[in-house]
Structures are given as structure tokens and as C-alpha cells.
Symmetry: D2
Subunit: 323 residues, 4 copies
């Protein structure tokens, strides 16, 4: 990264006065803002449903054209352990009575597709969310693993804010940013309120660049995503609204580098590590957004649960939306 600012400002400095939810739900808490999502919030989510239209938000995994990933990760490899050809070639016999079956196997980065970050996925200083030692991540997340999220599930009211549509663009551009004012303005324009304990979905159109224009256009010479950008006001807004989760159609849910300080991914620090806000990333929002624009309903029941990987830093998910 072009980090001309490095060495000048750090997360420790910048977030010295920032709010934290550590201890708010006890010293053993590992699910953070997910604690807000109780039965009443599930009912509030269910109350959004009007038409019964269903959307799933998981991107394809192991697509022929490749999968969009954070640099350093790679897409999944899916391989057959058996299929029809094994029977035809005489290498497998049908089960008694004649049943045959195909089976497959995968190697994948756990954060190489639509996924929830575990709360212990990122940190600064020596501590992850709730003050657990960063060493607890060694060899697997002994604390704040994604299995804790998987067992709870995320069921509540979801709201989609379509920044790309609000700006009249197909996709935001590399490095393009927006803040809390933009979120409010876009929601206002959509006619939807952002409420306490919401699960916030933001559409940037960024993943479309990968699928419509290819990997070269997506990664560029230097991979810089568009997205939400850090400000103390933004952090306070998440804190006071008690936002449960942030989900976007980009790899990292925020602009890659904060322009003023040169700090990379400060919202992972301020929202996830300090406030315990859940991040889910690499979601496919195109059909949902088009439908919301069409019927004017931007809030819905949001029901998601990452797969239950013990100690995982994250896990794949295919969130369900019911309008």
C-alpha cells in the first residue's frame, strides 16, 4: 500500500478516546453487538416481512471465472472424490440395490467468499475484542471464534442502504468513500429509517466490477476498494445506534486506507475490535437492491448463520433475506 503516513499515526493514537463495549456483556463475552439481538429483535425482524419474497446473498464459491478475494488469499478448489465416471470405469460398485453417488471435497480460505468475520479476526495492541489476549488467536481462536456467532445466529431487522444507486453509479470507484452523513442521506432518499439494533447492509456495486469487468479491473495495479471511511462521528453513530452488524458487497467493508492518516482498515479496529460489531463481507446485493428500488421496501427480516467452524477466524455464510 502507498503508506506515506506510516509511522505518523497509529490506531492506538487515533482511537485513544474511541468508545468500547468491552465488559458491557461480561468479561467472558465473545459475541459483542450480537448480544443486542434478542428474541424481541427477532420479532422486530419478522415484523418487516410483507410479501414473502426471499433473497440469498452468498456469492458463488469456486466459480469457473474465479472468486474475488483479498490479496494473499486464493479462491476455493472443489474436487470430486467420486462421480458417475467412477462407476462407468468400473472403479466403484453401486450400493446394494443400485444406488450410486457423487461426492466432493474442498480446499478454501475460510474468508475467501461471503463470510462472517469472527470478532477475534483482527486486533491492534495486544488485545482482541473484550480484552482477550491476542495470543488466544494462535493456532485457532480460543476466544471470539466464529463458532460463537454460528451458535447464536443473526436474526433481526435488516436495512439496505444503496450508496451506488444514491450516487447514480453502477459501482463506486476504487478508493471512493462515504461516511455517516452519506448513509443518512441515502436512507432518507430511500425513505427508510436506520434504527437501533439494525443489521446494516450497504451496497457499493464493487463486486460487480469483478463479475462484469474481470479480475484485472477489480484488483488494478494496487488493490484499493471503495467504502465506508473512518471518522469519530461514524464510530459514535454505530455506538449510539447499537448497530449489530455491517455487511457489504466488498471484500473488507471499508475503504482500504484512511486518507487522512494512512491507516489501513481502521473500522475493523474501531467497530469490530472495540465495539464488537459483526462484519460480514463479500455479499451479493444486486437482486435485493433492484427489488428494493422497485417496491420501495428497504427493510426486511435478515436471517444468517455462518457455518459452525470451531475456532475459525471467519466462516462462509449464505444470508437469507425475507421481505
Amino acid at each position: 500500500m502507498a503508506d506515506t503516513h506510516t509511522g505518523q499515526q497509529t490506531l492506538i493514537d487515533v482511537l485513544a478516546q474511541a468508545p468500547k463495549n468491552w465488559g458491557r456483556w461480561g468479561e467472558d463475552d465473545e459475541i459483542g453487538a450480537l448480544n443486542f439481538l434478542d428474541a424481541a429483535e427477532a420479532l422486530r425482524g419478522v415484523a418487516q416481512v410483507t410479501s414473502g419474497k426471499v433473497f440469498t446473498l452468498g456469492v458463488p464459491i469456486g466459480a469457473p471465472g474465479g472468486d474475488p478475494v483479498w490479496p494473499g488469499r486464493s479462491g476455493a478448489t472443489r474436487l470430486m472424490t467420486q462421480d458417475r465416471s467412477h462407476y462407468t470405469a468400473g472403479k466403484l460398485q453401486p450400493l446394494p440395490g443400485g444406488l450410486e453417488y457423487a461426492d466432493d471435497y474442498i480446499t478454501a480460505f475460510l474468508q475467501g467468499s461471503s463470510q462472517y468475520d469472527a470478532l477475534g479476526h483482527t486486533w491492534y495492541g495486544d488485545e482482541i475484542y473484550n480484552g482477550f489476549a491476542a495470543e488466544t488467536t494462535t493456532g485457532g481462536l480460543a476466544r471470539c471464534g466464529v463458532d460463537k456467532i454460528a451458535r447464536h445466529g443473526i436474526v433481526g431487522r435488516g436495512v439496505l442502504v444503496d450508496i451506488a444507486r444514491h450516487r447514480g453509479k453502477e459501482s463506486l470507484e476504487s478508493g471512493e468513500t462515504f461516511g455517516v452523513g452519506d448513509l443518512e442521506a441515502a436512507a432518507d432518499a430511500q425513505g427508510v429509517a436506520l434504527e437501533s439494533h439494525d443489521n446494516l447492509l450497504i451496497r457499493t456495486g464493487w463486486l460487480k466490477v469483478f463479475y462484469d469487468h474481470g479480475a484485472e479491473a477489480f484488483y488494478g495495479e494496487q488493490f484499493v476498494e471503495p467504502g465506508l471511511t473512518y471518522s469519530p462521528e461514524l464510530v459514535d453513530w454505530f455506538h449510539q445506534r447499537e448497530i449489530v452488524s455491517l455487511s457489504t458487497d466488498s471484500i473488507a467493508n471499508e475503504v482500504t486506507v484512511h486518507a487522512e492518516t494512512g491507516i489501513a482498515l481502521p473500522l475493523h479496529a474501531a467497530l469490530m475490535r472495540n465495539l464488537g460489531v459483526l462484519f460480514s463481507e463479500i455479499l451479493w446485493l444486486e437482486e435485493l437492491a433492484a427489488d428494493c428500488a422497485d417496491d420501495g421496501q428497504w427493510s426486511f427480516l435478515y436471517a444468517a448463520a455462518p457455518i459452525n467452524i470451531v475456532g475459525g477466524t471467519g466462516a462462509p455464510v449464505n444470508p437469507v433475506v425475507v421481505k
Copy 2:
């Protein structure tokens, strides 16, 4: 398997007169009974919600004590690509500003934990569901892959039938069976109706054997699960009720071998391949069942979507239940 019956009766013979849904939703259909789940059914599912209690049904993946799998498969292996120790040892540098992160990687059978079978997962004769050639499974499911299910999602009314509790057992025993009469009797005793287009969940307590008593007790000398057993009446019942999906807390959703004919897994043939009924397997139903027994509410909103593996024979899932 002890298949003394082999060579005597085959699926082709036994299911010669059995109902099929092939062509019912067009010759290109790849989702079968999931077609029943339209917006109205999603609303019917939502209408079950009363208290807002949420349950997730995915078993742990990569548990320290191992994961229960079908013989020939193995549990997932999760490995760190980086964690705190890499920073401490000086092998990684924090991002500009100080953020550090942990990341991980998995190798796994796609059907090695809570999962949906793709409709093309099993077949007999030369055709999978809807008459597509079995050759379409070669190298990956060109037809009826689990991605088709992933994109649709499964949202509707779910009903739990607790056979183990009905029989006053912690867990059914290896090889123990039940049929349509038992389902109806148990549902009656629970005071819940099994309705058209339901997503049927059945508790056998079988997975508890693995987690409570260990792998040796679970697999035994010869792996024989308890479960639903084939009869023409059972198939007709699924057909006439237009049951969308069958989910259980066992590896294969049915007794391993049909006693009368010696045929292995005939319901995979009769329900999945012929009728297009969705199977999800290896689900954790203990807390849900205990709660249902407690409050007497056995129906609920069932919202699930397997992860979106392109061409997969199956895919992990963590279903969400809202009561």
C-alpha cells in the same frame, strides 16, 4: 454391509411404480420440491413465529474430538495461515497503523458436516433427478448442483417430529426404524399437524451417541444408522403432502439398509432422485427439541441456505429456526 439380499431386488424393480416429479416444473428444473416454496410459503413460515426464540442447527466443524461422518469421508482440517504468533515472531508486520489479523484455511468433504445434498448427489439407473444424465455429475454437477438450492434458499414452515422423545429414548438404536405411521402418531402426540409444503425435521437422537459416547459407540463394528425406512406408503405420503425437505440428526436421513430388500438408502432414490425432495443431514436438534417439548410449539419459521458452492454435490449449512 451385510447385503444377503443383493442381486435379488433393485431400486429399478422396487420403485418401478413409484411416483416421480420429473417434468413437473419443466424439463430444465434443478430444484425439485423447492419449487413449492414460493412467497406464500415464506409468509406461512413467518406466521409460525410467536416468541422470537432463535436456534441454529449446524454441528461443530473441526471439533477437537472429531466430527461424525459417513464412512469413507473424513472430518474437516482447519489450519492457520497467520495469527498473532506470526507477528510476535517477526514474520509478519502489522498493516499501516497497527492492525494485525488472523486468517485460516480449510480442507473438508463438502458433506462432512451439517449440509444440504444437491439433488444430483445420488441416483440409480443412468439418470439423476428430472432425467438429466448421470454423466452430468462428472467432475462436478453441471445439473442439479447445490448452488441451485443455495440461490433459492429454503424459507417456509418447519415442523419437528421427535421420534426419540415419542419412544421415550435418549437416542434410537442402531438399525431402529420408523415409518409414516410413527411420524403421524408422534406429531399427534405432540399436538402439531404435518401440513402440505412443510419442511420436515425429525429427531432420532442419533448424533448424540457420537458426542456423548464417542466414535466407537457411534460407528460400531458395522455402521448402521437408525432412521426412516422405505415403504410405498411413505413415498406416497411425501408425494401427496408435497413435503419440501427432510432434515434429521443422522448422517443419511434414513435407516442404512432396508430390511426387507437389503437395498441401501432407498429413500435417497425414492424421495430425492424421483420426487426432488431436499435432504439436509447431520443437524443438531437437541436444544430445539428440548424447547419445543417445553413450550409445546413444534412448528416454526425455517430459514436455511447452504453455502453457494458451484456444482457441489452438497454444501455446508447452518439452518436458522425462529419460533
Copy 3:
């Protein structure tokens, strides 16, 4: 590939009169020209040794800068299952007495680094080497797997022909070719004879492009390697000399496309599939070549054995040369 010739000429046409060793060592033979390497040839190899200098030819696997691979394959991923950090973090206890250990795991294409091709790796028509059905490759090589080579080992006289040095170049250029006349001329200039039953190593300098100039320079817009190019004379020369094995510092041991016919990789067909000549690829020849140029000794004991992968299409190897 730019295959303007496609559809005009095929391997079946072009190699209609080409020699075959099928049946020469019996109808069950799975090791082809490796049959030439008997004990007498091992002694001939040993007889080349003069100074005791040792070279190993395997390229790094899992190098930080990536590994050079054929398009469609990817480099190996090596991950720790445990290391010192697990003990420090209290996640592992030392063995009784205090021993600790590190362990790791790999995912890799079997032909993603220095490797031997199995004789069943490539074919045309419906048959692999020795007339076995191409179907025997389904799900793993039931015939002519790399394990057959692994069990025999390749021990004999090796000769290095340094085409790059002969042409006064650091590396041959993309698409640059050479034939049997060039091999003979270069060997003459080196003062070494190419003899019957030799293991032929050819240096093109091509792998250096990857390591010295990076992936972009190596792959280019269209991946076209330099290398040996097909001619009937070349095939006859291999046949009459009874060459045992061909090894180079390129991915595929031959120019990617035969210019006159547009056929891709015809030597895989003419030499490996028809004659049973062993191919080993992606070897590192720089130090060996420099030493040979220095001391004028271009022949040596060549001792190699790929790892013993049952049914593998190929397997990694780290060949040993003793001069």
C-alpha cells in the same frame, strides 16, 4: 492458444507412421523406456562419477515469491498444524520429558513443481501408453501411474545438453525451438557423446525467467514456452537411441505449440505415450550447468525417484546428480 491450425491436423494423422514401443516389454508393461535401465545401466551411470560433486535439481516448493506452474494449476500451500507458538500460547503441552515439535501440511498440484509425469498422464485417441484404455485414468491411474516409476527408480547415465549456453543466451526466448540437429551440435561443442539408454537433461534457461524477472515476464500475455520441437527425425532419434528420460528446466519439456501444424505438445504424444519415454519437468539446472561448463564434464550418475503416490498422474521429485 493461438491455434489457427486447429482442425487441420491431428496427432492421429501426424503420428500415423510414428514408432511405438507398445508391447515391447509385454502387454502389462507400465514403465516403458524405464525398462532399459537395468543393473548394467546403473553401473554405467556410476562409472561416470569422478569427483563426487553432488547436485540436486528440485525447485523450491511453496516459495515466498510463488512457484512457476502450467496455467490452470497453482503453487503449493504449506500450513503449520503446530509449531512453537502453540506451546507458548498454552495450546499444546510438551511430550513427557519436554520434547516439543512443529508439524505441517500441504495442498498441492502433484505436477506443480519438479516432477515426473506418469506414463498415463497424457494420451490421444482412446489409449494411453501400451494401449491401455484412457478410461483407466478415471479417478486415478489404474495403469501407468507414477507409483510404477517410483518403485523402479531412475538410475543411470545422465547427460546435460545446454542449449542456452550453446546459443550464447541466458535463457531461450518464448517460443524459441530446437531440434535433434541442435542437440547433437551442442553436445559436440560440449565434447560429450549422447549414448544409448541415456537420461537426457536439456537446459533452456527458461525457469530463470520466472525467478529472475518475475511471473509477468514468465507467463506473458500468452504462455508460450521455448523448447524441443517435434519432427519425425527427432522421434526416430529418441527411438533409436533408446533414450530413457527427458528432463528440462521448463514446465512442459517442449515448445508449447508445434509451429507447422498448430498441434499442442506433440512430443508428449510421440515420446511419452507412444515410446514410453519418461518426462521430468521443472528442474533447476543452473548450478549443474555452470559446473559442467567449468570442469568440462557433462555426463554423470543420475539417480532420481519421484515420491510414491499411488495412482498419481505425476509426483514431485528432487533428482540427485553425482559427478
Copy 4:
């Protein structure tokens, strides 16, 4: 393990006076006793050759009946990425001209088959061989990785000592031990001298238990291998003879627990970590031993090089023996 002795004696105590080769070849040395193997030793190895008979020592990897591994590891999984069936099913097109090919992929523990341990694989206290910090193993061996061995190769005189044959047994029994006196006695009986700078191969027949009698007989209720057992005299013998490498047909090259102290695997500490002796394990010695018994020649050229895994804790190998 039955470690009734734990807490009483540790490697630090027991090996307090034991010899070390740290610093002997400089403070940057990462190959230990392999330094003994210079060109003169390669010539000495070559000088053993009389008949030209060749043996390879690598066990099958991915065998249908499973591979023998240390508890906690698992055998390799080999999967096709493509084969003939993909062409038949129309999912792949032949290359221009008609060439087709099969390709495969593996997931494996690097020490899950015949392999060389890296010198940094095991340690006690805070240091690996030559005093490098144990932290250098974090995330991969920055020091004393198996790539250092791979680049050097192991070429010299090898000697086989057949303890099982000497004791008139097919295989040693679980927990059965032998020491330096037994080695000398067996070598004497064989009529072969154990010389300075030898590569020592020891046959116990233990792997035969796995292949002949199955996994249950091999692993038992508690996995305890037979093997060489620690004594100060044994360590001195290795030190004074300047033995380069120790190779056996067992998983760990030594008896699992030292009976007198209860310490696990003390020779990994005394020989590998302190003296820099190379360990290669899980070798197949049956045919070689039978031949040596037959012709009375127990010494030979030993030429091996593990595959070149960067930073690996170990790497697969298929050693070559020429008699």
C-alpha cells in the same frame, strides 16, 4: 502415553552432559551432520556399488488400505482435477491436435509418509539445533527447514542393520528395544562394518505389521513402537562415529518412550536437536533387506533428497539405494 515418570526427569536434566555439535560448522549452520557428507563421502558411497541393483525405499502414499502415520496425523488425500471422464462427458476439450491429459491434487501431512525430518522439527528448552530460537519455527521453519537438506542431498555410504532378522523375527514387537551393543552385534553377524560418516539404516520389520496385519494391529490400544532406545553410550557412539543419518522402517526411528525415565522420544533430542543427525522415517526396507541377506552385501550407495519444501518441518522422499 503411560507417563508415570513425568515430572521426574526431563530432557534438560538427562541430557545436561550430552554432546552437541552446535557451532561446529559455524553459527549459521542449518544442516548439521550432513556437513560430513562431502565429495569424498559421495565417492566412498559410489565405491560400494558392485552389481548395479537398485532399490527405492518410499512407502506408497495414498494407498487404498490407508497409510501408517503418527497419531494425530492422517494419510494423504489424492484427488483428480481432470481425467478421461471429463473429456467423455464433454466438460473438457482436447488441446489443439487432440492431446488429452489427467491431472491431480493432494492434501497431506508433510510427515505422513516416507520423509526426512528437518533439523528444526523437534526441540526442547527454547532452542532448536545449533541454538536457533524455537520461535523460528512459527509459521514455518525460518531456520533448519527441510529445504536446506533438499538442496544439499544425502549421498554417501549406506549400511543396513537388520535387527529383526538378527533376532529371528518377522517384526520387532511393540515396545521392544535395542541399543548400541545390538547394532554392533547385528552388524558383526552380518559381516559388515559400521564406519564413520555412514548413513545408518535399521530394519525393525515394524511397518510390515501395518501392511500385513492391518491398522488395528499396528496402532494397538496405545501406539508404542519398537526401536532404538536412549543411553548415553548410544549418543556417544553416534557422536564419535559421526553418523550422518538414521533411517528406519518405523514412524519415529526410536522406541516411543524411554522406559527408565518415561521421557518420550529422547533420541530426537539427543541426536537430531543436539548433534544434528538427520532422521528419515517410514522407509520400506523389506526388499532391500532380503537382497542383502541373500548376497551378503549390506553396504551400498545411498542417494536421497527430500522434495524441496521451503520452510518445511519435513518433506517426503523416495531414497535410492544402489548396490
